[in-house]
């Protein structure tokens, strides 16, 4: 499947940045599976380096595969068994979609408005995202650029209004004794690198996808993601202090503390921007899932793939929200980490090596 519709390298990484930042918004001691958020600052720096290493196989695959996506490479290397690669990626994107949608549902129903109907909410988000995915990667890329501008403005406003309320005394020093906790947080951050498997499918879609352009994009994306994360965690910790222990979604809490002039709380601004980011992420991952479905079942199902994927995501997310056991499984960081490492590192590495061996054999 050679992509016809394209986005610029810049638009692609903007989309991926928004998708990653949406995850950061729900960052808390609960979601990060840690007893203290302060480890996140050091962990961000370590995770930055680890992410660079994680991207290498995908980047190597991109530079050696002549514009083929990871699923194309799967078919090229494993022939008809290549469908397994598409199935694994499809399942991974589905997992991420359900995870993201469930987080959104929890946030809205537990923190914002407990009386809100999960069904109506999920339906509205999935329907809007299906429309976004239906419009294609090009439209998503353009929408992301506009949303990115809003994200950036919102982040700057929040930082400027929260800085005077930050107290450096709330920042606890980190010692070598904290190493196990820091490593745990790093693993957690790496597990959330769902954008790397997305790159394995999306990089060939980038217009003018020269090695240099993509390299710059990867470097900028990684730095932007982890620096934003480190800044966000520092500000949250410095503002909230020990109050952090009582909060499920501390990012939302600090936005409720931020004030600008007569506007007493900026959580409305935050919610607007976050919902827009959610739309980008869910649209993008529905698009990726439908690309995998299309690759397996061919053009016959391609027209309906987005609709089918949307319905699958909605039904699964609803079913999981209602089952506690499944819920724990979905939010288990170690399962997510294994799944992410498989799709971001192991499969691309196997494909690159096998391809290389085949080429050498032919040569």
């Amino acid at each position: 499947m050679k992509p016809f519709v394209r986005v610029s390298v810049c638009q692609l990484f903007v989309m991926l940045y928004i998708s990653r930042m949406v995850v950061n918004v729900t960052y808390s001691t609960h979601t990060a599976d840690t007893n203290n958020l302060r480890y996140g600052v050091i962990a961000s720096i370590v995770a930055l380096a680890a992410t660079f290493i994680m991207i290498l196989p995908v980047y190597a695959m991109f530079t050696t595969s002549n514009g083929r996506t990871v699923t194309d490479n799967g078919y090229l290397v494993f022939k008809k068994f290549g469908a397994v690669v598409a199935v694994i990626y499809g399942l991974y994107f589905l997992w991420i979609l359900i995870n993201t949608l469930s987080q959104f549902n929890i946030m809205v129903t537990k923190v914002l408005n407990p009386s809100a109907s999960v069904l109506v909410l999920s339906l509205a988000v999935v329907a809007a995202s299906m429309y976004g995915a239906y419009k294609g990667i090009e439209a998503l890329g353009r929408a992301s650029t506009v949303i990115f501008a809003f994200v950036l403005i919102a982040l700057i406003i929040l930082l400027c209004t929260l800085l005077p309320k930050a107290d450096v005394l709330n920042l606890e020093p980190i010692t070598p004794k904290d190493t196990p906790d820091i490593l745990n947080t790093v693993l957690n951050m790496i597990a959330k690198n769902s954008c790397i498997p997305a790159m394995a499918v999306l990089l060939p879609f980038a217009r003018g996808n020269t090695k240099n352009g993509v390299k710059k994009g990867i470097v900028s994306w990684t730095f932007a993601v982890y620096l934003s994360t480190a800044i966000l965690i520092t500000i949250i910790t410095a503002v909230l202090g020990d109050y952090l222990k009582t909060q499920v979604f501390p990012v939302y809490t600090v936005t409720a503390i931020a004030s600008l002039g007569v506007t007493e709380r900026l959580d409305g601004l935050f919610l607007g921007v976050w919902t827009a980011g959610m739309f980008v992420k869910i649209s993008l991952f529905i698009y990726l899932l439908s690309a995998c479905v299309k690759r397996i079942f061919g053009e016959v199902i391609s027209r309906w793939s987005i609709l089918i994927c949307g319905v699958i995501v909605l039904i699964t997310a609803m079913a999981i929200s209602a089952t506690d056991g499944m819920f724990d499984l979905l939010f288990d960081n170690y399962i997510l980490l294994c799944f992410t490492l498989l799709t971001a590192v192991v499969i691309p590495l196997i494909l690159v090596v096998t391809n290389k061996i085949k080429k050498v054999g032919k040569g």
Binding site: K110, Y243, T253, S259, E264
Partner: protein, 345 residues
């Protein structure tokens, strides 16, 4: 034809959204209890919650607010009992203060405050105050409005004696292992409420109440005080000065099991009355500031209270030493405190 069908379909979807996705959950303003202030007391093993809420009754337009009382085993149950009296749905997002009754403070406030920390409508930045006696007594005073109390809570920069304590900082101080939480105390004199001192908490329990002068000292050492009028003697007369741009540097160290603390206060003083001896005046003001600060430090530390974040400061400057300390309270009590100040006129 296809274009028309699409447009009609979109219009139908929009109409459905307008009808069924309203932000206000179909509640009218007069069906809501828009809470402006909450007082909590703990009497006979029950929470007694006093609520001041906006009057949205069209028939009584001259009344700006109403006050009502409910009780229960938890704050939530107490509020629910109020709802069963008036049938209004409570809305906490406009609440401007939480007034804690003295009995509740002595019993422990954490359980009551958990509601405000966890309930989605409550603002983390709402001000917390302590009533000298019962919160209900203050809130039921004749002529009192929610504005009266919230204005007192916000007067930090106007009088330099009222400590504005947002809920999230208050809770953070309660949960921290070394810090002592504190709030301003509200009292009623001749049926008029006013701020009068600072309440100190050990964990979530009230341990001590300081007077108005010590409240100023506490704020001075915390670097939060802009004094509008304090009096010093000069040439046999009384002169008053104002202090602005106040800033405090605190250095903490522990040597041989003793806490040493150097406090340096800086600020810009203004004297409105005529005087020609500026050097002497500066000296007198510095002397006065030192005295106010020393009194406040002594009042706080004699009960082992750390309202100046000394523990957090040591945690940053000497983390290893900080980790070895088991009894922070006695370290504070036996500490050596040196205060100096520098003002420019």
């Amino acid at each position: 034809m296809g274009g028309y069908v699409k447009k009609i379909f979109l219009l139908v979807v929009l109409a459905i959204c307008v009808c069924f996705m309203q932000g206000c959950n179909s509640k009218q303003l007069n069906e809501r209890m828009i809470i402006q202030g909450i007082g909590i007391d703990y009497i006979e093993d029950e929470y007694k919650v006093t609520v001041m809420y906006m009057n949205t009754d069209e028939g009584q337009q001259d009344i700006t607010h109403k006050t009502t009382v409910g009780s229960g085993r938890t704050v939530t149950e107490a509020v629910a009992s109020i709802v069963s009296q008036n049938g209004l749905e409570p809305l906490y997002s406009h609440n401007s203060f939480i007034l804690l009754g003295n009995g509740l403070c002595r019993e422990g406030v954490e359980e009551a405050m958990e509601f405000f920390a966890g309930y989605y409508q409550c603002r983390p930045s709402v001000n917390v105050l302590t009533a000298e006696n019962e919160a209900n007594e203050i809130m039921m005073l004749e002529g009192i409005t929610p504005r009266t109390i919230s204005d007192i809570a916000d007067s930090e920069n106007a009088d330099g004696r009222t400590l504005a304590m947002p809920m999230y900082i208050f809770m953070s101080d309660i949960l921290n292992e070394t810090t002592t939480a504190c709030t301003s105390v509200i009292t009623a004199e001749n049926d008029v409420p006013r701020s009068d001192g600072v309440a100190l908490f050990k964990g979530d329990k009230l341990i001590k109440t300081l007077g108005s002068s010590d409240a100023m000292g506490v704020m001075l050492v915390r670097g939060e005080s802009d004094i509008t009028a304090e009096v010093i003697p000069l040439d046999g007369k009384s002169k008053s000065f104002a202090l602005s741009q106040e800033n405090t540097e605190i250095n903490v160290r522990v040597e041989k099991g003793v806490l040493y603390c150097n406090i340096f206060i800086k600020g810009e003083a203004t004297v409105y009355e005529y005087t020609s001896t500026s050097k002497e005046l500066e000296g007198k003001i510095e002397e006065r500031l030192n005295k106010i600060a020393e009194n406040a430090i002594s009042a706080c530390t004699e009960s082992g209270a750390d309202v100046f974040y000394l523990g957090k400061r040591l945690r940053q400057s000497d983390y290893e030493m900080y980790c070895t300390i088991n009894d922070w309270s006695s370290l504070i009590k036996n500490g050596v405190y040196t205060v100096s100040s520098e003002v420019s006129l």
